[in-house]
């Protein structure tokens, strides 16, 4: 018996595509600075204005608001194309006002913090503005790279304005650092030298951070690609172990049509289950899977086709278990006695009952002529159904085929 190993979990990706991951993503349109406030607003399902207000207030704590914003900018990835709505013009205006207020509050807070802190305010502000300009440009470069699908260099395919903006940003950062240095320059030349070196490091770090982050992202992408390749290899292996083996078996038995069709059906069923089947762990837990398993067993045992249609579905409880068992027995009976190549099974889950119809166009029989001691119909089907409050109706006549209709009322808890 050939069996598919359980498929790799990623093979089910399309099935799960309706599940939306709520991952923090910076907005790429309708942003003021880096789209960070928008990201938080989208995540928390808030109006973006409130988040921007919060950042404005945070600016009052010297450094905290700015540093938080900067870290989020770096660590949260940009949203891919076409995500996020548009800001209205009014929102944009509000936000710009908030930004100015934030800068104001921040400056005031630093000044009132008093003493030595206030003189470094201006250089730090210049540095922050410079960094923001460069990082924003890095975001656009990344977008261009996505759009062009190219692994471009540091700045990617860019116009002169990109270079100008990066240049201006870098210049601002450098000016800020130089002013800081000048302000703190002491008499000691060694101290001054150390500070200069430190400032150079900070400057280089601030300016190149977006590209470091991107480098890490590229590594991630590469790993994802490797996983995809691995998956394809897995699929090839599955197909080899199952489909190709079955085809080989079929070629060896061309003079045994019964065996060939049995092999083909069993392989087809496994392949379908593998391609479109339900998630792992769902086996045997719903009516449709239970019926599919029974139908598969009957197909394999008797080398016939069982055509199943299931409308609606529900978990199997202790009333539906006997229903499914009775349906299986009806399939077996049809396969054994009707002398046909195909059986139709139709199941419908309604709010108050579950019905299963097992039908063949075969020999049929005279229901009154069946001896009482025949287990199949009497015990396995009727007994099972009536014991659990279900109903059985058998429609048949010699030469007219047979249809077994099974109805089982659903339990209250299951329907509510």
């Amino acid at each position: 018996m050939l069996r598919f190993p359980p498929p790799p979990s990623n093979a089910r990706q399309p099935v799960q595509s309706t599940v939306t991951y709520t991952r923090l993503q910076r907005r790429r349109s309708n942003r003021i600075l880096g789209g960070v406030a928008g990201a938080i607003a989208d995540q928390l399902n808030l109006d973006v204005v409130w988040v921007r207000c919060a950042f404005t207030v945070l600016a009052a704590l010297p450094g905290i608001g700015v540093i938080t914003y900067g870290l989020l900018w770096l660590l949260v990835p940009q949203a891919p194309a076409g995500v996020g709505g548009r800001d209205t013009g009014k929102q944009r205006q509000q936000s710009l006002i908030l930004l100015v207020i934030g800068i104001g509050i921040g400056s005031l807070a630093v000044m009132f913090a008093g003493g030595t802190a206030s003189w470094i305010m201006l250089p730090i502000a210049i540095l922050v503005v410079g960094a923001a300009v460069v990082w924003r440009e890095a975001d656009s470069t990344q977008r261009r790279r996505w759009r062009d699908g190219a692994k471009a260099g540091l700045v990617g395919p860019a116009g002169w304005h990109t270079y100008v903006r990066i240049g201006v940003g870098a210049a601002l950062v450098i000016i800020g650092l130089v002013l800081l240095l000048l302000g703190s320059a002491g008499a000691n030349p060694l101290q001054t030298g150390l500070l200069a070196a430190l400032a150079t490091l900070v400057g280089a770090g601030v300016l190149t951070v977006p590209w470091w982050v991107r480098l890490v992202g590229d590594l991630d992408n590469e790993r994802a690609e490797r996983i995809r390749v691995q998956e394809r290899a897995d699929i090839a292996a599955h197909l080899h172990d199952s489909v190709l083996q079955t085809l080989a078996l079929i070629q060896k038995n061309p003079d045994q049509p019964r065996e060939v069709s049995r092999l083909a059906r069993s392989q087809e069923r496994q392949l379908r289950a593998w391609l479109y089947g339900q998630k792992e762990g769902m086996e045997n837990s719903t009516l449709s899977t239970l019926l599919a398993v029974s139908a598969g067993e009957v197909e394999d045992t008797f080398a016939i086709r069982v055509q199943q249609v299931v409308v609606g579905d529900c978990p199997v409880d202790d009333k539906l278990m006997p229903l499914a068992a009775a349906a299986r027995e009806a399939m077996v009976n049809a396969a054994k006695h009707a002398g046909v190549q195909e059986i139709s099974v139709y199941a419908e889950v309604e709010p108050d009952q579950v019905s299963i119809f097992v039908r063949d166009r075969g020999a049929g029989f005279d229901p009154d002529a069946v001896p009482e001691d025949r287990h199949g119909v009497a015990d396995s089907i009727k007994g099972r159904m009536t014991r659990h409050g279900g109903k059985v109706r058998i429609k048949t006549a010699p030469g007219e085929g047979t249809e077994v209709a099974l109805h089982m009322p659903r339990t209250k808890e299951a329907t509510s």
Binding site: P14, V15, T18, R272, A273, L275, Y276, G277, Q278, S288, R305, Q307, V309, V310, V311, G312, S344, Y346, E348, F357, R359, E403
Partner: protein
């Protein structure tokens, strides 16, 4: 009666040969041409003007739905019967909504296929049990429709439901007629009406349901 002119579209040559061999035995049908790709199919159908096109759902370059789109944009008398191994709800619903008059699976017997072709050529609809089940399921799951939907095409009448149920149970049109004490013509009318609703309904449920349910 003139034999029905049939055109085969399938990207598997082996399968075309098989179907051709099966249909050549039937005198009600002549196969007048075949194609293995969307472009060939569109050119061939325009050239031969067949009565019925047997259309594979899965092909490169857009599949059966693409052929339907291109042919039906030009006014054509040709009807389409989709033929597929898929049984995937999304494929089935997609090709029906693109304008096919019916859907049967490739495991259908030669005699049943001939019947289905004749039925489609007379303008009636052909529902495999599986398709009947899909449509029943899609129309009974949930009540919501997108705003502005026409309530007439967004729900099935009780009689249409009865007919669909029997189709899903594997009944032939004649058997349905005698079961419900109606004429075969009336059964055909009901099925055509269900087909029209499946095609026209802008039930949000219908496409979403099909997409959600990637089950065999």
């Amino acid at each position: 009666m003139e034999p029905v002119k049939v055109f085969l579209v399938d990207d598997h040559a082996l399968f075309r040969t098989g179907v051709r061999a099966e249909l050549d035995g039937a005198e009600e049908i002549t196969v007048i041409g075949e194609a293995g790709s969307v472009a060939e199919a569109v050119a061939g159908i325009r050239h031969f003007a067949p009565d019925v096109v047997l259309l594979d759902v899965h092909m490169p370059d857009g599949g059966g739905a693409e052929v339907l789109r291109q042919i039906r944009s030009t006014d054509s008398q040709t009807t389409f019967l989709a033929l597929s191994v898929s049984d995937d709800a999304e494929d089935v619903i997609q090709v029906i909504r693109a304008g096919a008059r019916g859907y049967v699976t490739k495991t259908i017997s030669g005699r049943e296929l001939v019947e289905a072709i004749q039925r489609v050529s007379e303008g009636d609809a052909v529902f495999s049990p599986r398709l009947a089940g899909f449509v029943l399921d899609a129309f009974s799951s949930g009540k919501a429709t997108v705003g502005g939907g026409d309530p007439e095409v967004d729900s099935l009448t009780p009689r249409e439901r009865d007919v669909l149920r029997l189709l899903a149970r594997g009944y032939a049109y004649k058997e349905i007629a005698s079961e419900l004490f109606i004429s075969v013509k009336t059964v055909e009318t009901h099925v055509s009406s269900v087909l029209r609703k499946t095609q026209m309904s802008n039930r949000y449920e219908l496409s979403r349901w099909a997409a959600d349910r990637r089950l065999v």
